[in-house]
């Protein structure tokens, strides 16, 4: 019975997370300011604690990109890190107070992997949204 109750809570939590996606997208969108143009794609993943979403991207040399990564209704709920394809670490937002967005200036074109997971402090489940913009 206790297990049923726990999972019912998880179910409700997951249901709430789906509904939260729109709000999260709005939270994330505000970081793609007018000096950046959106790449036109919305990246979403429903995450539970300890799950990691992997995003693959090619970023072009000579361009500055902004990556905005959010979960829930406020900034700082999503941990993200950027590596190259060989998993060399480029950036971790946890080292910058869970920054909800960060800019990346590319000298050469390269493939990156962006991994995102919930900050355990923020809750057990949530809709992770990531947006990418490039500077004009």
């Amino acid at each position: 019975m206790k297990g049923l109750f726990t999972l019912a809570i998880i179910a409700l939590s997951a249901s709430f997370s789906f509904a939260q996606c729109d709000i999260t997208a709005d939270v994330c969108q505000k970081h793609i300011t007018d000096d950046f143009l959106s790449d036109g794609q919305h990246y979403r993943a429903l995450l539970l604690t300890d799950q990691v979403a992997e995003f693959n991207a090619t970023l072009y040399g000579g361009t500055t990109y902004r990556i905005s990564a959010c979960s829930g209704t406020q900034d700082g709920n999503l941990l993200f890190r950027v590596t190259d394809k060989d998993r060399n670490l480029i950036f971790r937002n946890v080292e910058h107070k869970n920054a909800p967005y960060w800019d990346f200036q590319l000298e050469s074109t390269m493939d990156v992997i962006i991994e995102a997971e919930l900050d355990p402090i923020a809750g057990n489940s949530g809709c992770a949204v990531m947006l990418i913009g490039f500077k004009r």
Binding site: D39, Y43, Q51, F55, H96, Q105, M130
Partner: protein, 305 residues
């Protein structure tokens, strides 16, 4: 309404999982074992456009990025590079509508960057028709057309609006379980951008342009991954086969990469990625890519598609 349905599905799925998991007596430890962890995984990977964890999400470059590059290297506006079909109603299947929405979207960005706002407005109207056919919320286009008309002379504002429109329509499609349509739109946009770039290399020998063609080797890998994820029922087998055929040619492109430690400027929220990459694309391979992408693109815009 859609989200409510999905929420209900998730709630029911998880509750059923809970009942199954508690069959041995309902000890709380049952919910903490590996099996119960598995039941907590999202069961409907396509629900509301949410990707199952463990799968990957793939980014494709915006056609606007390519259009900016074409302008930067001194390419002239060439109207006949764009899809000449003006009657979008000739695209009757969902796949043809989606792919051509991507193509017209790339044409729209290309026109805008060259200040061809009247042409861009016509293309926007075409996109609206295709978007309607695909069930994209018409208000996204109607509000955009009103704003567009009021800013015809302001290129920067128009570019922001178009990027926002693309983003909103992608969000709408993913919310409404139309990941496959979203993927096909991206596919059409990518094909059209590569078609522009390769054709421009015939007139303009610019190293940046040539590199950009070669760098599509990486994006093509992401595109194939994206299409394969959207091809659960085999409906996109032809698209995947065409792309794999293009990949065979791209495999001849030499790509070299060297890791260099990045530099982060925390006060500017900026990381400078200093890793180096080079692309070596021979004339023969460039011609093969040009021919193949032209063939793919012409098949996509054919109204019999």
């Amino acid at each position: 309404m859609n989200l409510s349905r999905i929420s209900l599905f998730v709630a029911v799925s998880l509750t059923l999982s809970a009942l199954t998991g508690c069959g041995d007596g309902g000890d709380s430890k049952d919910t903490e074992g590996p099996d119960s962890q598995a039941t907590a995984e999202p069961k409907n990977p396509n629900a509301a456009g949410l990707i199952k964890v463990g799968d990957k999400l793939f980014n494709l470059p915006s056609p606007l990025e390519t259009a900016f590059l074409i302008e930067e290297v001194g390419g002239h506006f060439t109207e006949n590079l764009m899809n000449g079909e003006v009657d979008a109603t000739k695209y009757t299947t969902k796949n043809a509508q989606a792919m051509n929405l991507g193509i017209y979207g790339a044409d729209l960005g290309y026109s805008l960057i060259y200040g061809q706002s009247q042409k861009a407005f016509t293309l926007l109207a075409t996109c609206e028709k295709l978007g309607q056919g695909l069930g994209i919320n018409p208000s996204i286009y109607t509000s955009m057309m009103k704003r567009f008309e009021g800013n015809m002379e302001n290129r920067d504002s128009l570019l922001i609006m178009i990027a926002q429109m693309n983003s909103l329509s992608d969000e709408y499609l993913k919310e409404n379980e139309s990941e496959d349509v979203s993927s096909l739109i991206l596919y059409g946009g990518w094909v059209e951008s590569l078609y522009f770039t390769t054709n421009l290399t015939k007139q303009l020998d610019d190293p940046k342009l040539r590199s950009r063609v070669g760098e599509q080797k990486n994006s093509l890998e992401n595109l194939i991954g994206l299409m394969q994820q959207s091809n659960s029922t085999g409906q996109l087998d032809n698209v995947v086969t065409e792309l794999q055929s293009l990949q065979t040619i791209f495999n001849k492109v030499e790509y070299n990469y060297e890791w260099v430690e990045p530099e982060t400027k925390a006060d500017k929220s900026l990381t400078i990625i200093k890793s180096k990459s080079t692309v070596n694309l021979s004339e023969e391979v460039l011609k093969e890519i040009t021919d193949k992408i032209t063939e793919i693109r012409n098949n996509l815009i054919a109204t019999t598609a």
